[in-house]
Symmetry: C2
């Protein structure tokens, strides 16, 4: 009765969402205050006050036929201009409104970019561990994900393995830095080398290869690290962005795509993305939200909130004997499972009301992901539960 693709998707549904549901069920049993749910990347900080003010002012002052009405499928020109100017002021880029397409979140953005460039059997390279939804998005267009294993010491991409993975079928490469699920930021050196490899492979294979930078965590960086914008490392770079994390608006589905002029035939690409936005059924990014984020484009969420969680968790878990990758950005911590089968470890953790996500959901078994976008108080209290878990595995 259902399409074959959806039958397959139902069978292998999102491990993150599954754990989120398990966490909710557990909360009903033992009380929400007793469950340490590290499953979902749902921001725990409110949007900035300026966002709420902007929404109310827009409702009061803007012509509703414009504010809630249709516009170009790529979004309002003034909103796109505000975003271009903001990027230019921060990253010394030279974008105009015409380089920016407003999208239904980063997920909508990735799908319209994929629809624009991918033919069946094309290959999309991702770096493990990677956000599992990339697989679904590529499957929407009958393309294939090719995962490149990481350098297990640093969780930077293994660039030799990357170079070897590029074939005539490679159409795109996705990078996600700051990274979900590891919290690692790809170094400038990594990005420079990646750009060099892509440039030389484009020449060798005589074809375009697109670097797609999925940047929902761009502003979530710690320890004084400077935010980066990847279009400077390689000409065929397309950026996808979401305000879900930077302004704590994940439910609102608002983001954008940037196609720099340096991309080959950039205008044709932008025209394709606009058509894809319409025909895939997004039509346009939600209109009031477009106008609202344009008013808050200089704002960001309370980073100190996440930083506190990051430090408590990394230090606490390390002290307990767990092996963790030190998070540099985003709000994820990547921890080695004390046993090879991390699914077993996730089950054991649940006994202590700890909800973790298995690394195999990110194409990298033997590890687990903790989304530390929960209250500071809970993070602190969770360490008792982790202590019991550590003891069970003879750590520390």
């Amino acid at each position: 009765m259902l399409s074959k693709k959806i039958q397959a998707a139902l069978a292998g549904s999102s491990a993150i969402r599954a754990m989120f549901v398990e966490g909710k069920e557990l909360a009903e049993k033992v009380g929400a205050e007793n469950v340490f749910d590290f499953s979902l990347g749902n921001p725990a900080t409110p949007p900035p006050a300026s966002f709420n003010r902007a929404v109310k002012e827009l409702i009061d002052k803007e012509d509703p036929i414009t504010l809630n009405g249709y516009m170009s499928n790529s979004g309002y020109e003034d909103v796109r201009a505000a975003i271009a100017e903001n990027l230019n002021s921060r990253f010394a880029t030279n974008f105009t409104w015409n380089n920016v397409v407003m999208t239904v979140g980063a997920a909508g953005g990735l799908n319209i970019v994929f629809k624009t460039i991918l033919d069946p059997e094309d290959e999309v390279i991702v770096f493990a561990p990677f956000f599992g939804e990339y697989k679904s998005y590529a499957a929407n267009f009958d393309a294939k994900i090719v995962a490149v294993a990481p350098d297990y010491d640093t969780f930077q991409p293994d660039l030799a393995a990357f170079e070897a993975a590029i074939t005539e079928k490679t159409k795109a490469v996705i990078v996600n830095t700051p990274n979900n699920p590891t919290g690692v930021i790809y170094s400038k050196e990594t990005m420079q080398k990646m750009g060099e490899i892509l440039n030389s492979k484009e020449k060798e294979l005589k074809k375009e290869i697109y670097l797609i930078s999925d940047e929902p965590y761009r502003e979530l960086v710690y320890d004084g690290v400077q935010e980066d914008f990847l279009t400077k490392y390689y000409h065929n770079t397309i950026v996808g962005y979401s305000f879900s994390k930077s302004l704590s608006l994940p439910g609102e589905r608002i983001g954008y795509v940037v196609v720099p002029d340096e991309v080959t035939d950039a205008q044709t690409m932008l025209a394709g993305i606009e058509v894809a936005n319409r025909t895939l059924g997004f039509v346009n990014a939600p209109s009031l939200m477009q106008k609202a984020v344009a008013c808050c484009v200089h704002e960001k969420t309370d980073l100190a909130f996440y930083d506190k969680n990051r430090k408590v968790l990394y230090e606490g878990l390390t002290k307990l004997g767990f092996t963790c990758v030190k998070p540099q950005g985003a709000f994820y911590l990547w921890m080695r499972s004390p046993i090879a089968n991390e699914e077993e470890f996730v089950k054991t953790a649940k006994k202590y009301n700890l909800i973790l996500v298995k690394g195999s959901a990110f194409g990298c078994g033997g590890y687990v992901r903790l989304a530390y976008c929960i209250s500071n108080e809970k993070v602190v209290r969770s360490l008792d539960a982790f202590a019991k878990l550590a003891k069970e595995y003879g750590l520390g």
Copy 2:
């Protein structure tokens, strides 16, 4: 460089959007007040005051982590319950929150339903003239549109032709009543017979055939006609709805899908639609808008505004000698072109600053569509321009 599908889409892009752009260009030349732009179905009435109040109250009173956060991919349960109760009170149905999935507009809804049920080479029957985007949506899943010609006297579907068009490959049938582009409402008799045909064909072919009711214009009915809800005519009916027209929110992309319990394996279907919402990149319907429309579910737009346009236009054009289908609902008027090649007619109309859309964009040449969702004053003034157009063709 671009995918083959997007190259094809760029070549045959939306005629409606193209005329909308032509109208805007013309407005820059001769002044917006002098252009009679009947191209786009963009509501001309503001949202009800209760909508603006609801948005501001939600912003002031709701917990932002909930209001702007992730929820189930199918939407907030309380919002879905409010919609189910509203439908039950109006149409004597028995829905619960579980029968309703919140979607990114009707376009998002149709795409996730299509993704859930369509395999490559499946056939989707539509009744000409039909909304051209159905073709793009079916193409997203490599399915084919099969258009059934209308009864040219009434523009009700030709049910004998419909019955003959159903094959073993038929997976779905789309109805859209009140209809875009004709403004016709399918009669109860039409819907009853269609249900009977589908029931008997399901038995004969031993397979499920889904009737997809695309209902963005459900509440836009005139002359005291009663609103209808199609799930009573056939068990395998899935409803797609949008608040774009009823609450004048087309830019906000907010709608829903209803899967009644009577649909075969309804729970599996709902699970599939939820997964499709996530994996196609919609993730969920915009969160603040979900909550806002739930507060306004009993409201509708100022129908008297459109009714006035409808009457002025239908009477005026008929008096000038044009042959029009009398609109019963929506905000479209369907007019026969005085010459067989209606594309020529559309070009000639543009000389008089009249922006119309060719019928072939709806799979029905020889006709044009007028979207009369523009100001009353403009509709009245447009009749002088139509008079000149009529004269050029020797009408009246």
